[in-house]
Amino acid sequence: MKGDIFQAIADPTRRAILVLIAAQSMTPNALAEHFDTSRQAVSKHIQVLVDCELLTQNKVGREIHYYFNPVKMKEFDHWLTQFKKHWEDRFNQLDQLLINLNSNSDEN
């Protein structure tokens, strides 16, 4: 069961975790040192990020290392496309509105 990627990203601590791990893979202990919250709280955040596949884990001996999942970057390109389309849709509606304004009045 995958988690909601957007819920995951909406939390500022989890965004901070992503930024740290994107720079360098880390163990939960190393990660927890960057935050004021408890080790358990950080673990919960990590689990949320793993659930939505923003992080992957790899066991090295007795330690678990977490890695940033680069597939997310591909998805980001997709988001970019969507964001752009959002603007295009919006502007097409404005075109229509301006046509209506032109036919209804002549204030200029």
Binding site: E75, Q82, F91, L94
Partner: protein
Amino acid sequence: MNFSVDKENNRINVEREFAAPVGKVWAAWTQQELLDQWWAPRPWKARTKSMDFREGGTWLYAMVGPEGEEHWSKADYLSIDAKKSFSAIDAFCDADGEINKDFARSTWTNTFTEANGSTTVSVVIQYDKYEDIEQIMQMGFKEGFTMALGNLDELLEK
């Protein structure tokens, strides 16, 4: 439409030409009854609660979804140069305009230039840092501005 993300300066640039004189295009961007007609991409609708278009004033509005769900936003106007440009700081908020601090704010600068009866609008959206841009794009996506959430599941399967 020109669209670019300036990663170095944490900026999104959008530029588009409209086949109307600047007076009308300016009105469409600055009058609530006109904004409500185009600001939200279908099937969403923009619904203004209050708008005070002057420096220091605020536009408080909701994006209303097909099921009646509401996402509130606001823009605080910083500077206005009539029919030339205006800038504002945006924010996600609640129905009373109380800002949601989980999300980054950005500063918008919209510039209007008329030539040969057409008007080019340049929108510069300035963020503090690049992560803010990623976050806001993901938000926009989530709110279903352009796609049903079902498509997201498909996307994440890939």
